[in-house]
Amino acid sequence: MVFSSVLFLTMFLPIVLGLYFLAQEKMRNAVLLTASLIFYAWGEPKAVIVMVALIVLSYVVGLGIEKFPKYSKCILTFGILSNLSALIYYKYWMFLLENINLCYSPPPISVIPKIALPIGISFYVFQILSYLIDLYRGQVAAQRNLASLATYVSLFPQLVAGPIVRYETIEKDIQNRSVRYEQVYQGLRRFVIGLAKKVLIADQMAFVADTVFNSPVKEIPTLFAWVGALAYTLQIYYDFSGYSDMAIGLGRVFNFKFLENFNYPYISKSISEYWRRWHISMGSWFRDYLFLPLSRALSLSKTYAALSRKIGRKRTNIFLTAVALLVTWFIIGFWHGAGWSFIVYGLYNGFFIFVEILTGWNKESKSPFVNLICHLYTILVFIIGFVIFRSDTLDYAWQYIKTMFGDSNAPLNSFYKATEFLTYSNAMIFIIGCILSTPLLARWYSKYEGTKIDAVVMLVLFIVAYVFAITSTFSPFIYFRF
């Protein structure tokens, strides 16, 4: 079920809210859990079994880690491996088999099974892992109530596309939370903002981006290659941050305080900064559960000790960083999807981050000129990154990037006439999208928050967004694929 669908907006959400607020306090988790399972089962009932199985298993593993401190490392390893095997099987097995077949002639595997990806598995498996690892590290206590743990993992606001909420964030709230009408209002307000971002900006930009990216690359003139890349850049931000707004808002309605997932990524002055502002819950997950433990393990290795005696600790640390970044960004890319273009997308970002660490790029500069250059560099890098991300094949991405830099003979007029996607309204939305990706307008508007004017603005925004949602063609969120 999609947040911007009529079914969700007019049936599911009102019914769940009604039952939730009518229910006694101790029954509220039961309402949320039931609603979440129905929400999840709506599209593919079979996928629920996988999720419930992983929850039950992880519940037992969690109790085991706490009960047997002596064996906690073994039990944790078992818990991590079983969750990851499910993820690998459902998400990567087909890809791995296909690639094994490509390496040998004749292909050794005659029949590659068709495995359907359970929606949201990349997100909820990561939530479960954060629970188990934090438990092992002594940062949270084991959850003794299976239903509470299941509510945390399956909570419908963030189930299918994040943010990746850590158990630590909701540990207290999952046991004990009141209904606060101030929070309900603020949550719904946030939901409306997210809905508007999705249907008024992302879906409109999607039309432009799809038109360009679905064309054969030889027919795209340089100018329109840029239009397509820029439109996609806006689409993915408003799509994904809009979804996060809706998730965070819905969480707030039930008085959960999820952490922010986006912080104006497009104003960044380096790729490192960009990844601290974009999909924050994922970036910090990989930092805390992969990059740092991996760096730590490397720094304890014999090679590290030997190398630092030979060439000094500082240079050795550069090697260590390079290796840890390479592995981490390879996996971040792969996490986004089983395909080579995602892997290249990950490594591409890791490369720039490594260069930035090496050159000390991240140090603040006071010169406005230097800042402008840094800003332009960052924008260019993430736009090209999105082209790789959007392209179905690496070959297409490469051809497309070449087109952007002038390698195109396609006539401007014929492409434009054939598509006719540049309308005044799209141009307006494009400009609004650019302005709203900076904090300027939000800063100015913040003085109206909580006033009657704001309430009217939000109501109008909701009605307009709702009309767009019911009349526009159905469009799922980009991150549902992962």
Partner: protein
């Protein structure tokens, strides 16, 4: 070794690892107060501290340190 001696050694390690000319460490200093002390630098610092004092931290301990005071407490506890 007492707290002051540990502080003196830590200050040297911090200066060298984070490329700083001057740094004043106190019990309440956190990573946010020191330029360049990000999570990656933290791993480097931990490795340098381990080498200097001759013991190992557990990953659990590495992630649960909140300020320099806690770090000094842990070092004291480890070397005794």
């Amino acid at each position: 070794m007492n707290r002051d001696e540990i502080y003196a050694k830590l200050t040297e390690i911090f200066k060298e690892n984070l490329d700083l000319d001057e740094i004043e460490l106190t019990d309440t200093t956190t990573a946010d107060d020191v330029e360049g002390w990000d999570s990656l630098a933290h791993i480097g610092l931990i490795a340098a501290i381990e080498q200097e004092f001759g013991f190992r931290f557990a990953m659990k301990e590495v992630v649960n340190l909140h300020n320099v005071g806690e770090m000094v407490d842990l070092i004291l506890q480890k070397i005794q």
